[in-house]
Structures are given as C-alpha cells and as structure tokens.
Amino acid sequence: MNLTLKIWRQKNNSDKGGFKDYKLGGVSKDMSFLEMLDVLNEELAAKGEDPVHFDHDCREGICGMCSLYINGKPHGPQQTTTCQLHMRSFNDGETITIEPWRAKAFPVLKDLVTDRSAFDRIIQAGGYVSVNTGGVPDANEIPIPKTIADMAMDAAQCIGCGACVAACKNASAMLFTSAKVSQLALLPQGQVERKTRAEKMVAQMDAEGFGACTNTGACEAECPKGISITNIARMNREYFSAVVSSQNV
C-alpha cells in the first residue's frame, strides 16, 4: 500500500504546530496502525529527521496509552484502540489525517502526544476504596449478585484512553468519570466513600476544564471498550443524591 499521511507536528506545548504531509510506500495490510507509524519513523530517523512522537505501550488494546484522531475519528474507523487497528481498514493511495486528542484538559506535549494526567487526578480525587490490611479475606465472603458484578465489570473495562473526551463535541470527560464512579458505586466495597467519591470526582472533572455532557452519545459510539452512557446516568444519580444527603457542607 502507498499512503499519504497528513500528520500534526508540534515541537512542544507552546509551539503553534501544523500539519505535515509524508508519503509512505510498502505498507502491508497486515500491519497495525502503530507499526505503520514505526515504519515511517524509521525512514525519518534514517534521514536524520525528528520522528513523529505518539503514545503507545502494551499494543494489545488493554493499557489505554495509544490515542490518535485518525480520519476524523478517535482510534480510527474501527471501534477499537489504535494499536488494534490494522491497515486493512484503509485503501491503497488513501490520505490519512492524524491529529492528537483535542481538549483543553489534554494539552499537546509534542506532535501527537497529549498530557492525560487530568484523568489520573480525577481518579486520585475519589476513584478508590478503603480496605483493611491484614489476613486475606475468604473468597465470596461478600455476596454480590452476578448481574451487579457484571455491570461493575462492564464499567471497569474503561482503560482511560480518553477517546470519549476526544469524540465529544464538548470535550467532556463524563463517560470516563462515570465509568469509574459506577464501577465502585455498584459494589459493596465501594459504599464507604460512595457519596464523597461522586462529589469529589465530579468536582475534579470540572476543575480540569472538561466540558459538560450534551448526551450526544458520541463517547459511547467511539469507546474502544464499549462503555455505556447508562454509566453517565448513574453518575448523575450518584452525584445528585450525594449532594443532597452527604455530610459535606
């Protein structure tokens, strides 16, 4: 395959940045999207040019490190992570536009790399449970109905890649935050901090400068892990009931 890549290049956070076109030949349809970028970077390095910076880690779709807005969609045309996207999803001779996630809360560090530590701070604000140290508790000591366990697991599938923020017209982080709120609110272990968690995580989400939710459903449609917007409704319930009943004045 021969491709034209239109890639966002930006030296650092204060640089204005802009698109640069690259011609890339000899791309196999079996390559992953990131492998295709590796090939480009090897060519650039051989020519003594600065390679294109992009985030990646596990390359098996479970870590949430890869990103990229490819041809107008987060993680490209398939509902998967960029590392699990293959070049067979593209056509020979195609022009592929690659942009970083665009959100005030995700500043561009270099090229396609954005700082997503805003998500970490939302988790730090309340996305945890307090457990006693000591002996290992017996398995199944706490009864949890299968349906509830499944719902919690579905929410816990979120890998925090930020595709929801990238896809949302408001750059809202409600799908991410709601998945993390839901995962713990559904389980007995999450009850201790339940109200405070909802209040603090929502407050941190706002403080980071993410937008509000318009219920367009774009996040759910683009999420590589299929996180449902029913979680957003649950977060709203959690938050509204927390603010009227918690002890936090």
């Binding site: 239109k6 698109f19 807005y69 041809n71 107008g72 969609k73 536009t97 942009e99 665009r102 959100a103 005030k104 809360a105 896809a167 017209k169 408001n170 750059a171 809202s172 929502v202 407050a203 989400m205 706002d206 400068g209 993410f210 937008g211 509000a212 939710c213 318009t214 219920n215 367009t216 459903g217 774009a218 449609a221 683009e222 917007i229 029913t230 957003i232 409704a233 649950r234 977060m235 709203n236 319930r237 959690e238 938050y239 509204f240 603010v243 936090n248 004045v249």
Partner: protein, 227 residues
C-alpha cells in the same frame, strides 16, 4: 459557597437545571397546544375567546405564567453558560471530524436550534402575547358580556402566508430540538433504566413529531380558511 450554589454551578448542576426547565417547557407545550387547538373549532372563535379570557383571569395560571417565563429565561441563560464552557473546553478544533458517524445532527446543534426557537418565541410573544395584554384589542360580545377578540387577531395574522410559513418552519426546528431534548432530559436526571429508557425514547420521538406538527397545523388550516 454554600453546597446548593456549589452544586448548581457544577457542570452536572447546570445540566440538571437545563433538564428540569426543559421538561417543564415540554409540559407547557402540551397545555399550550390543547388550548390553541380550540382555534380550529367551527364556532368562529367563541370557545377560544372564552378560553383565553378564563386563562387571563385565573390567578393560578398567572403564577404559572410567571414561572414559565422564568424557566424559559433560565433555560436560555444556562444554555449560554454551558455552550461557552463547552467551547472553551476544546480551544483547537479537529481538521477532520466525522461527528455524523457517532451522533445525531440535532444532538450536536441544540444551541443553534434553541437560538432559532428563541427568535421565533420573541416574534410570537410580540405578535400575540404583547398585543393581547397591552395592545388595542377588538372586542366581541357573547351572551351580553364583552370579551377581547383574540381569535380575530390570530386569524388576521394567519391570513399572511409569510407569517404562516415562518410558524411552520419554526415548528420544524422545535421538532428537531425536542427529538434530542426530550430523552436527553431524562438521561441527565439519571433516569436511565433498561425497562423504561426505550419507552422514553419512543415517546420522545413521537412527541417531537406530533406536537410541532399539530402546532403547525393551526396556522395552515386558518390560512386555508382565510382564502
């Protein structure tokens, strides 16, 4: 900041106000429509004029009417605040964005749709509400009692084809606004349930077609009658 103002200034709190005022305005549309359909009764406007008179003199309706204006204002103000906040949240737009593949046009353009509806509302209030309340009104006698002839000014307005076209087009925009807003309000309130959400979406879809269509029917029929 008290916990109430802190909550209402959060993104979720602002959305809560949008949802609650939106749902109230949806309810208002139903009441308004039921009243207005009396314009089509073949009694030369008598039942509509009597209805308009009873509405104008009912203290409860007056209070609800003040609330209605307040909710419209709140709905508009909070939408401006949220839109501004949302625009700031993405300072640089994508060069290529295929938003139509993941969300409906209406859901992405609620602000534009709402602005058009607001313009319609201002014209509508000036043309009818203001005239009826403060303008010089023609009168009509029923059983010896004199009433404002609201029907006459509505009929006069709807004999103008441009005015009718404006109303019909505005109702189209209202339909698109409702097609997202109805179900969206329930989602914001956290009322999402595997048993009820499909029903809410179906009702919302039906509502967004039937209610604006019936509103648009009134000026169309009255225009035809005026010919």
């Amino acid at each position: 900041m008290s916990w109430v103002s802190k909550t209402l200034s959060s993104t979720l709190g602002k959305k809560l106000l949008m949802a609650l005022t939106g749902l109230f305005l949806i309810l208002f549309l139903v009441i308004h429509l039921i009243g207005n359909l009396q314009l089509l009764f073949p009694d030369n406007g008598e039942s509509f004029n009597l209805y308009a008179d009873s509405m104008a003199n009912n203290p409860l309706i007056r209070i609800v009417s003040i609330g209605n204006f307040a909710f419209i204002l709140l709905h508009v103000l909070y939408s401006i605040m949220l839109s501004r906040h949302n625009n700031i949240s993405r300072p640089i737009d994508y060069a290529v964005n295929k938003a139509s593949t993941n969300s409906s046009w209406s859901s992405r353009n609620m602000g534009i749709l709402g602005t058009i509806i607001l313009i319609f509302l201002l014209v509508h209030l000036k043309g009818f509400y203001y005239e009826i309340k403060f303008g010089e009104m023609p009168t009509v006698d029923y059983a010896g009692v004199t009433y404002k002839n609201v029907f006459a000014i509505v009929a006069a307005a709807y004999s103008n084809v441009l005015y009718v076209a404006f109303y019909v087009v505005a109702m189209g925009f209202l339909g698109f606004h409702l097609s997202h807003g109805f179900a969206s309000a329930f989602q914001t309130l956290g009322l999402n349930h595997v048993k009820y959400s499909p029903l809410i979406q179906k009702v919302g879809f039906g509502f967004s077609i039937i209610v604006p269509a019936l509103f648009a029917l009134i000026p169309i029929v009255m225009y035809i009658q005026s010919l």
